[in-house]
Subunit: 413 residues, 2 copies
């Protein structure tokens, strides 16, 4: 292929919306001032995208897998491994990973508080973490990381582990924790390890000074963990294996970082990148440019602020997040526009009116200097409907982006 370019993939989380009466029936994308996105739409190829399929409301994790070119119906390992990878715990194929809560149990293992009061200092987290991380049960190594508040991530590593196990968390207080049971015969060993682990962790945590001090301050003791979202890190082809490309992720949220790492992207941290409107859009633009100028063939940039505003039913903040993203992409285009093929989209629709993910398709635009225009003049859910690419699926994005960028070999002679 004569003309290779860098592929840049911008996702504004939950950016799709529905007409909002107080915006005169416009969607936030229509109401926002987006000169850069509109230029891309006017000069490039637009589509509406069913990220998973028509009528299917995507989760963030399955949506991103699809957008990275992986069929979530085949390659979705569950949320555990994806989010765990994003916390910095480096799971490997064969590991079972999940998310955890610190919790408070009575002496007979009755759940008193499913989040152990939520409030933790980093010092408390470090001490508790040190008592769990490194534990070994029946030859299975346990890695543990306390993350935010009562939350944490955990990996089990060993032979013959499976994620098909039942819950230990009864999801209510005043009830004993449940026994973990295998949901298929091969998972018996995993369930046994979990049950022994629940007891062992309780034994290690219950008499700690840190818990006595928490109780003095009126906080519940963190004398146990509860686990959720188990998933097995599968053997999958990385983006390098599939397409021969080196790839980077620029994101704030653990789930997005983790999903990207799961398919082989390298996380490039950005100072000041958060999941809110206060994220540092300028630094994200600069880091994206640095990655494009460097050795990466593909750079994925995730903006969470649009989704957070949607969940908060805050149309104004969603518009602001869109406008700041527009400015951010403008900086990228102005600096490295001649070297890239870029796609801008969302991972799903989150209507401000409902605050929840919905099945409505999202607009997507593909732009490069050489690309054919179509009749769309603006970037929005409504305008994208006359785009030249018509309706695409999330799974089509990676081939289109890498195809335009010259990273997919000709099929045949």
């Amino acid at each position: 292929m004569s003309d290779k370019r860098k592929a840049v993939f911008i996702v504004m989380d939950g950016v799709g919306d529905r007409p909002i009466p107080k915006l005169g029936g416009k969607t936030p994308l229509q109401a926002a001032k987006t000169p850069v996105f509109d230029r891309l739409a006017k000069e490039g190829q637009n589509a509406l995208m069913n990220v998973i399929g028509p009528g299917i409301t995507p989760g963030s994790d399955t949506a991103h897998l699809a957008l990275f070119g992986y069929n979530p119906l085949e390659d979705y390992p569950g949320r555990g491994p994806l989010e765990t990878l994003g916390t910095g715990l480096e799971s490997k194929p064969g590991d079972v990973a999940f998310r955890t809560n610190f919790a408070t149990l009575d002496k007979d293992m009755t759940v008193l508080d499913r989040r152990a009061g939520r409030v933790f200092t980093r010092e408390e987290q470090d001490i508790l973490q040190s008592k769990i991380d490194g534990l070994e049960i029946d030859g299975v190594q346990i890695q543990f990381l306390a993350t935010v508040e009562h939350r944490g991530a955990m990996i089990l590593r060993g032979e013959g582990l499976f994620a098909e196990i039942s819950d230990v968390d009864p999801h209510e207080t005043g009830v004993k924790i449940w026994e973990c049971k295998p949901l298929k015969p091969e998972a018996k060993k995993t369930a046994d390890v979990i049950n022994k682990m629940m007891v062992e962790i309780n034994k290690r945590l219950r008499d700690l000074d840190v818990n006595k001090e928490r109780e003095k301050r009126g906080l519940p003791a963190a004398n146990a963990i509860l686990i959720r979202g188990p998933g097995r890190h599968s053997e999958i082809q990385t983006l390098k294996d599939k397409y021969g490309i080196s790839s980077a992720v620029i994101a704030g949220g653990a789930l997005y970082i983790g999903t990207a790492k799961y398919v082989g992207m390298v996380h490039e941290p950005v100072e000041g990148q958060t999941g809110t409107i206060d994220t540092n859009f300028h630094n994200i633009a600069m880091k994206t440019i640095e990655c494009i100028e460097g050795d990466y063939d593909y750079v994925f940039v995730h903006i969470k602020a649009t989704d957070n505003a949607s969940h908060d039913h805050n149309a104004e903040e969603k518009i602001l997040a869109i406008e700041r993203s527009d400015e951010m992409v403008g900086k990228i285009i102005d600096t490295v526009g001649s070297k890239i093929v870029i796609a801008v989209t969302g991972d799903h629709t989150t209507p401000v009116s409902t605050g929840d993910h919905s099945c409505d398709p999202v607009p997507i635009v593909f732009w490069s200097e050489f690309i054919r225009p179509d009749r769309a003049e603006k970037f929005s859910e409504i305008d994208a409907a006359i785009g030249g690419l018509h309706t695409i699926r999330g799974l089509d994005v990676m081939p289109l982006l890498l195809g335009y960028a010259g990273h997919i070999e000709k099929f045949g002679a």
Copy 2:
């Protein structure tokens, strides 16, 4: 089916393009004067077509298989059998076919010239061919045809032959030819035959008078052949088997003729048909009309000039090739328009700017007297985006064309 019509399928090779600055940002299809194609677009059904799939750059062979209704991921036999069939060597299921070069070897089988000087007279070719064609090794019959310059085509016919064999051509001079090795156990016999064949052909050619005379004229002796692109002619359903139709191919290039014959089309030669702008468009129109008036249900017409102009970065010649094709189709419509359903398209995009195949979709129009119109007014990559068929795949073309023409039976009652 009440109203059967003849199906006519016109492919302008590599006709798709991208906006060209010196054409005022138009593509060659937009810049060309195409009153006939525009009439078809205005009166017919238009689409953009991903010949293989979104983002995938098609080869000419895989593209044509898809356009004939065969999934190239399942039915692609490699270039050897397709091109070989186009030369006139009639391979059959089970044969292994490949392309060849005459080459010059030293006494110890060191490669001195991979093309034996390129220049050959027909007389030389005939003599060399007669020494190779008809050879039999270990019960395997060898058919050989010298084609253009140093090039040729070869078929191995016998029990248990497979194409999974390694190269003999080291792709450089000053190096001995490589031993052919099986790439899967079943291919051992094939590799053994190839190795014996290399020696036997060298023995038969090296002392020929024709080679002594070549050396006197300062040309390298053609004392060996090198082989490439092995493929096994598979058992596939012909168009007759699949659809019950009789079909013809009108094409100049061996690859297109061969791919069409592979699926069961009969080659109808045309005087003056070549792969360049000098091809006889009038004769092609006349032969197409003759085939339509005759017993064929389906006629495939391939114009190569558009692709050659693209590879030469020659926008003006591409426009000229398009305009002459337009005139050619006009003659067909004027004469037999009431008897046909016609589709006009390309097999892939070859931008004049890059001179290489690219992944951009191509426009396609389906026309017949009875067909519904859509909103497209002109035939181009940009206008087709508002076509009533939206986006289709190459595999959809044959069912659409034969469906409109009344050659596909109702499914159900």
